[in-house]
């Protein structure tokens, strides 16, 4: 007896070291796995901020522009639509670098400045026509290549043929820098312009407005319908095949790939109902179908968390079933429903695959002004810019992503705050 006990003890002790080693290996694996996710997150945000933060600033060049009447209004009459403001910019550049001569060299010189410079002068004159004939000093946006050079994204030490900016241009930029005529300033165009082929003119306002209109449609449809469906399923639906079917259906819809909703939108809303393509209205309809399951599931959970005693008390005081629900259960469940809705909306804001199906990927310069104007959405703008070969667009893509993530962060924080503030322990 003693022998066998001693024996089993020995067996256990012999295995202990191996078992402890296994234990620590297992533990370390778990730690590494957790670290992988967190590290990726850190790397991801670091790259994003490193790439994108520079896009919020843009290089500007100081020019002394002679608003000469002979260029702007050769016939004595100023017509803003046809006046040659670009010519003014060009002559200002020639004045700044009098040593540059020859057609091709001058053309290279003109490319230092963005085509936005002419528009800027035109806007100034249209605001204050008395500027004509005077000399003004303005900061005009530099072209995207100069911008990239100044931000260090183009390496001037590599061979001239491998970079989009010539040696002469690099020299001019350096001399502008020395003269204090080159400065990085806040990139307002990013927030006030629609899309553009020129990186220095491209902005996200159009996409932001498109996303905004879409979310308005989505909230207006998905919130009431989702809440109503949740109320019916939780409070009124008899336990029948039909309600089981609806329930299974909702759970499945929540897991259907979003691109399939895009196919639905294309076939039903655009082909069958003949609604306009690329419109925030259609995008909002598709996104509301997409977020509906999320909202229904969250709202049902919120209704379930209202204790039955409240229903019974109201019923006992003579309220009808409908009054119980709308006067007592719904107000108590509303914070949970709102949280679910905000989370659904943040999912809708980040969604882009179904929008590709319904034509919201078009290149649209104008900022949409309504629900049926052609528009694009913020995540789709990210997709479009990510496809552009210019280096300057990569930077702006990161900036657009930062803005998008900022909005998502705000929405999720709002959801957390609502949950925390309105949370009730029964």
């Amino acid at each position: 007896m003693t022998v066998s006990r001693k024996n089993s003890r020995e067996i256990v002790e012999a295995g202990l070291a191996r078992r402890r080693r296994k234990e620590s290996i297992f533990r370390a694996t778990g730690m590494i796995a957790t670290a992988v996710g967190v590290t990726f997150l850190a790397v991801f945000f670091a790259t994003l901020i490193a790439q994108g933060s520079s896009a919020f600033r843009q290089t500007f060049i100081k020019l002394d522009v002679e608003m000469s009447e002979s260029v702007l209004a050769p016939d004595g009459e100023l017509d803003l639509a046809y006046a040659d403001f670009d010519g003014l910019v060009r002559s200002a550049l020639r004045d700044a670098f009098p040593e540059v001569s020859g057609r091709s060299e001058r053309r290279e010189l003109y490319r230092l400045v963005s085509i936005a410079a002419g528009f800027q002068l035109r806007d100034m004159v249209s605001d204050d026509p008395s500027l004509v004939g005077s000399e003004v000093t303005v900061w005009v946006p530099a072209s995207s290549n100069v911008d990239m050079l100044v931000k260090g994204n183009i390496d001037p030490s590599i061979d001239e043929s491998l970079r989009p900016i010539s040696d002469a241009q690099v020299g001019w930029v350096e001399s502008l820098q020395e003269a204090g005529r080159l400065e990085k300033r806040m990139n307002k165009a990013l927030f006030t312009n629609g899309d553009s082929r020129e990186p220095e003119l491209a902005g996200i306002k159009g996409a932001l407005m498109g996303s905004f209109y879409m979310l308005v449609v989505t909230v207006a449809l998905a919130f009431p319908i989702g809440v109503a469906a949740a109320i019916y399923l939780e409070e009124f639906a008899p336990r029948s095949r039909w309600s089981d079917l609806i329930e299974v259906n909702i759970n499945n819809l929540a897991a259907v790939p979003s691109i399939v909703f895009g196919l639905l939108g294309l076939a039903v809303f655009i082909n069958w109902m003949a609604l306009p393509r690329s419109a925030p209205l259609v995008g909002g309809l598709v996104l509301s179908l997409l977020t509906l399951p999320v909202i229904i599931i969250a709202s049902r959970a919120a209704i379930q968390s209202v204790p039955p005693s409240i229903r019974e008390a109201a019923l006992g005081l003579g309220a009808s079933k409908m009054q119980v629900v709308f006067h007592h259960v719904l107000p108590l469940a509303l914070p949970g429903m709102l949280t679910g809705t905000i989370i659904g909306m943040s999912r809708a804001l980040g969604e882009s695959a179904p929008l590709l199906m319904i034509g919201m990927v078009a290149f649209i310069v104008d900022v949409p002004g309504g629900f049926t104007d052609p528009a694009t959405a913020l995540p789709v703008q990210v997709y479009l810019w990510a496809d552009s070969p210019e280096r300057a667009f990569a930077e702006r893509t990161s900036a657009a992503i930062i803005v998008l993530l900022g909005f998502l962060l705000i929405m999720n924080l709002a959801a957390v705050i609502i949950r925390k503030r309105m949370e009730r322990k029964w």
């Binding site: 078992r19 297992f26 019916y232 759970n251 691109i259 399939v260 882009s352 199906m357 990569a394």
Partner: protein, 462 residues
């Protein structure tokens, strides 16, 4: 804008109806002092009137707005001379489009003749006539409905029951939208897919080995192979999904185990929300990251060990997709692990097993159905994921199992086929719907099985 005015007018009328109905209910019993003689609270008489005023008018309005364009186009076509009506559907369509553009004052293609100008004028007449009729009819019906409801108000009238009945119907309608959505998905995808299978046999689509959807417009066109064998797409999807699962399952599962069993509560409180952030990042952002950061990195890493890596390798897309799915796997595994009764865990520990032995020998086997269900849901998510592969995976349909080569997936092809011009009479566009059908059926099966596993398993220990 006109519609908006009409809606606002209707809303104002509805508000008025509510007010009138409420006032009338007091009036029929002789003032607020006698309110107790009413069957329902006065507000319910107001709501009753509002419903009668609003619902029929709103129904008519929606129906009208939906049908108006079709009816007007039909009327215009009917009014065209015989020669135009005999044109083919495509030409007729173009003509109608031109007429519409001309009517709206937009630029049109081709030259404008008297016929078109007439038609455009007629078009505008029809539109404004339709607008006038719509406004009069809806407002008239709203007024009529309100008046009928007002006349029915009596002290013994059971307004609350009526209103609650209508509200119940509205609730039922709202909850059946989920069913309608599924039905809509199935019908729209199926309908177009059947049209596709009329041109391309089902067996060729499912078992063909070449995918090259460029159909010819002319018969002698160069490069118009138009073969629709989807096997390379399925293989590509599976390859990327497999890479993603190889990343996501071990990492997600081990994360869930570590956070549930080993980590201090402080680590858990920080790591969990951080991982949830991963789940909240839009997929287009992952796609951007995969295409611009991970893919070049994979390429350089591969080249440094002498491997030939395509710049749009399946590996890059799969890796990033795997990272995206980690939170899903870990949260579902976490649920499954937590659902195992503590008695089982405590029993194993009490018998002297280490924590890892408890986990591997006791908890994981018990939680396995839940974990498998979660993994199935994750696979379905990976198969249906679009933006990452659109941005980081290739377009050419290679039939290969080499993760360093570029492959294409079902979702990528749906996007490429449908972005841009669509002709709903060509197999090229319809192929997207056939692929959509496959995608929907496969993910649906995975979801149903996965959800049943997860739910069955949860009930087991409850």
């Amino acid at each position: 804008m006109q519609n908006l005015t009409l809606i606002l007018l209707l809303a104002a009328m509805a508000g008025g109806a509510f007010y009138l109905g409420r006032r009338r209910s007091y009036a029929v019993v002789g003032g607020p002092a006698h309110g107790a003689q009413l069957h329902s609270l006065p507000g319910y008489y107001g709501y009753f009137t509002l419903i009668w005023c609003l619902l029929p008018a709103l129904g008519l309005f929606l129906l009208w707005v939906l049908l108006e364009p079709k009816v007007i186009v039909a009327l215009i076509i009917k009014s065209l001379p015989e020669a135009q009506r005999a044109m083919s559907a495509g030409e007729l369509n173009l003509l109608v489009n031109n007429i519409q553009n001309l009517a709206a004052g937009d630029a049109i293609s081709g030259e404008v003749d008297a016929l078109m100008r007439d038609a455009a004028e007629r078009y505008n007449e029809y539109v404004s006539a339709s607008r006038r009729m719509l406004a009069t009819l809806t407002l008239g019906i709203a007024g009529l409905g309100g008046a009928i409801a007002l006349r029915r108000i009596r002290p013994e009238f059971r307004a609350r029951n009526r209103v609650e009945q209508v509200v119940l119907y509205l609730l039922i309608a709202a909850s059946s939208i989920a069913i309608l959505t599924t039905l809509g998905i199935v019908l729209s995808v199926l309908f177009e897919a059947i049209r596709f299978f009329r041109e391309v046999p089902l067996t060729e689509f499912l078992f063909g080995l070449t995918w090259s959807p460029q159909t010819a417009i002319r018969a002698d066109q160069v490069g118009s192979s138009g073969s629709f064998g989807a096997v390379p797409l399925f293989a590509g999807t599976l390859l990327i999904t497999a890479i993603a699962m190889i990343v996501a399952v071990p990492v997600g599962l081990m994360t869930a185990i570590y956070l549930a069993e080993y980590s201090s509560s402080r680590v858990r409180a920080t790591a969990k929300p951080l991982l949830e952030i991963l789940a909240g990042i839009p997929t287009v952002v992952y796609g951007f990251f995969a295409a611009l950061t991970v893919a070049p990195w994979v390429r350089t890493a591969g080249e440094s060990v002498g491997l030939e890596v395509a710049s749009e390798s399946a590996l890059a897309a799969g890796l990033v997709m795997g990272i995206m799915i980690i939170p899903l796997v870990s949260s579902l595994s976490d649920d499954a692990i937590h659902a195992v009764p503590t008695a089982m865990r405590d029993g194993a520990l009490g018998l002297g097993s280490t924590r890892s032995e408890t986990m591997i020998r006791v908890i994981l086997p018990a939680a396995l159905p839940g974990i498998v269900g979660g993994i199935l849901l994750a696979v379905s998510r990976a198969i249906g994921e679009t933006m990452i592969v659109v941005m980081a995976a290739g377009l050419s349909a290679n039939l290969t199992a080499n993760p360093f080569e570029a492959v294409t997936t079902v979702t990528v092809q749906i996007v490429t086929l449908l972005v841009g011009d669509q002709e709903f009479d060509s197999a090229k566009t319809l192929a997207a719907f056939a692929l959509g059908l496959v995608l929907f059926v496969v993910t649906l099966c995975l979801n149903v099985i996965g959800l049943t596993f997860v739910r069955k398993y949860r009930e087991q220990y409850e």
